[in-house]
């Protein structure tokens, strides 16, 4: 399991997802990306990130934006 947070890690999470798919081991790994504020969601396309990672948050205020 890989857990990432903050918008700075979005590209790294997408990169890891791509490397895992290329290595044929993607189904064995769960990638969680922790959203702790809405800046993250405004900075990056949520769609591609959502296809690569599970979004995760501990704030109910993030549920609606997610």
């Amino acid at each position: 399991m890989i857990l990432a947070e903050e918008w700075h890690t979005v590209d790294a999470a997408l990169h890891i997802d791509w490397l895992l798919r290329r290595a044929g081991v993607r189904p064995q790994v769960t990638i969680l990306w922790h959203a702790n504020h809405t800046f993250c969601l405004r900075s990056y396309p949520v769609g591609p990130l959502g296809r690569s990672c599970h979004h995760h948050t501990v704030s109910r205020h993030m549920i609606v934006p997610l």
Binding site: M1, I2, L3, E5, H8, T9, D11, A12, H15, I16, L19, L20, A23, V25, Q28, V29, T30, H37, T38, F39, R42, S43, V58, R60, H61, I63, V64, L66
Partner: protein, 241 residues
Amino acid sequence: MRFVANGSLPTATTGSSATAVRTIEEVRRLVAEPERVVLVTTKEGEFARQILDHWGVRLADIQGKEAGIHKCENLRALIADYTAAHGGVRGCGSSRPARHLQTRHHPMPIWRTWRCSWRLGATTRRRCARPVRSDGRIRLLELDQFREALPHGAKGITGLAQASLRPAMKPICGLLAILTLPGHETQEQLHLHRWCQWISRYHPAGVYDGEEGKRSDYMASLPPFLLQEALLSHLDEGDGR
């Protein structure tokens, strides 16, 4: 005029003097001074307002992230407006605020395009206030479940990584970009690798100094390392989940 720029209210700093504000008494002392006090924060301004209301603290204005621009831009605009109106900003005679803004600032033109486009409207606020229910797309953990998963005092990614360790597990890597600590550190089974330290040698003013270069280096170099040094050996043995 005083500008209070912060990442979280308990650790506010003043834009004019960069003095840490750590207690409610310090906040009250600051606002009691005969100057206009504005809070600039990257958090939701409404949340900051509720906290200050709870404390009984009244400020001239609160500029949260609903302003839609980076707080450094916020500060610059506030200072420029005040300077135009009054011919100067009291307490900003030293070079520290300017240096602070220069070193912490990083150009993010995309942020400017959100100005006034993503304020939380009344409908959204009402939806946020409603209890959230689990459905097929959202799975909720009770707070007690979340607390049970964390050791006492655990915080952030490091705490979660420590909490995820079990005796039968092989060492895992917690990967951070903190720059002032050792590049590699082992805490029992947990291995901490701190990235981008070579960049920080050239940008010693803080975590935001050279931020874009650090992000690019992190994005390019961490995933291959993670795959080769940490993941593949576990996945080959079938314990990757």
